[in-house]
Symmetry: C2
Subunit: 257 residues, 2 copies
């Protein structure tokens, strides 16, 4: 029942967290039961919901090291139907500790088995790397969304990312089909933006789905975390809010097809 979707791109700052926070919120506002998992020691998604992460005793880290269960660590958010499995800097210890375990790449998949059916969607926000935390997210996921900033360096990373995902599929028998490619921080008025958009279409061609919805640069999306809430609750009229609501609707519509 619960579909597990990772928001993934090893390039820094291309809008993974902003997408994880606002897409999960939009899905919950469309009456889905959603769990957002913060797999980043930076804890930006956790902060995005106004949670004081330094004080947390139960986090994704204590769950992965089996001190707590997932249900014990989950917190409600101010959005009805949206829950979060929070993170903080303690998680940075995990990369070294977990790598010593046998089957270290499927620890998250194991822990999610007991909650998978309690939710319609489980979204996972990952760090800007292809390390063990991202590996766990990919192995646990049924599919991935790849946000691509409409600039050159973001496009550059695509070949490496796809290679890594193919390796994981091959060696760990854990395919993570691409649910969709999402153009973020996209200004269609700039030549650079349009060029990268075209390059993405050339690169993925007919093989992959590129969301019709694109996310524009909108300062409200950058301001919202300083108020501890998703942009959708911070400024309902903003282009940031409208595009993430449209994205959620496009995603749900495709499920029905």
């Amino acid at each position: 029942m619960g579909e597990i979707i990772s928001i993934i791109n090893q390039k820094g700052g291309c809008g993974k967290t902003t997408t994880a926070v606002n897409l999960s919120t939009a899905l919950a506002l469309l009456d889905k039961k959603v769990l957002l998992i913060d797999m980043d020691p930076q804890g930006n998604a956790t902060t995005g919901f106004g949670i004081q992460k330094a004080d947390l005793e139960k986090t994704i880290y204590t769950v992965l090291s089996r001190k707590d269960t997932t249900p014990e660590a989950i917190l409600p958010t101010m959005v009805e139907g949206l829950y979060i499995l929070p993170s903080n800097i303690a998680l940075s210890g995990a990369e070294v500790e977990l790598s010593r375990e046998i089957g270290y790449h499927s620890i998250l998949e194991e822990t999610l088995k007991e909650v998978k059916d309690l939710f319609d969607y489980i979204l996972i926000d990952v760090p800007p790397s292809l390390g063990i935390l991202t590996l766990n997210a990919l192995v646990a996921s049924d599919s991935v969304i790849i946000p691509i900033q409409a600039e050159y360096y973001s496009l550059e990373g695509m070949a490496d990312l796809i290679k890594t995902m193919n390796l994981i599929e091959e060696r760990l028998q854990s395919p993570s089909p691409i649910k969709g490619i999402l153009m973020t921080l996209y200004d269609s008025r700039t030549r650079l933006g349009r060029d990268v958009h075209q390059e993405v279409k050339n690169f993925f061609g007919e093989r992959e789905y590129i969301f019709k919805t694109t996310i524009p640069r909108n300062v409200r999306l950058a301001e919202a975390p300083s108020y501890g809430k998703p942009c959708i609750l911070y400024d309902q009229e903003s282009s940031g809010t409208i595009s993430y609501m449209k994205l959620a609707q496009e995603l749900l519509k495709r499920e029905e097809e």
Copy 2:
């Protein structure tokens, strides 16, 4: 003689690579002999100089695993006096392999000993993480520059970054004083930009130097990598070029004081 400076911030996309590429170029244009080391498996700094990284046989990875020496792997760039020690995806193997060695945190420091005196400045571009590659860069460095994007999430990461640097100083006796904090992607017309700038001043207060020069958002800086050259060579008149030249001059002026 050669001062080794890391460009560091674990937050993704805050302008580390853009700063490494353009500051190293500016220093070389001001007649300094400069080496830029790309410590990121993403290889964005390498691409920023038009190098076809997939074909490279000698890289920072082959140097760290002691197959090649630093002088053997260094390449000239189109900027006179500026050399690069390039990177590509092979470096992502290093995080796991190096961690098995004794003294794995000082491998880069060792390799740089033989070239340190050949340059006035050695700049190191690091990945968005606090892992073993960043650790090597910090231990090897005489000082660091911290680029901070003028947005909330970038500010959030400061406490964790400073904590990590203090730990390295304490446990590895390897201090890396902050040469300067650099506001990047800074739009002083937005309230968010001004708020973050003020927060940075409050956070670092009198203790640390915040560069007077700030780097504005300028699309030329984002376009330049797709032409395989630093912005300074791509568009001499742009605000991106002007601010990085000013930054280099401010840095050199402080050395004289």
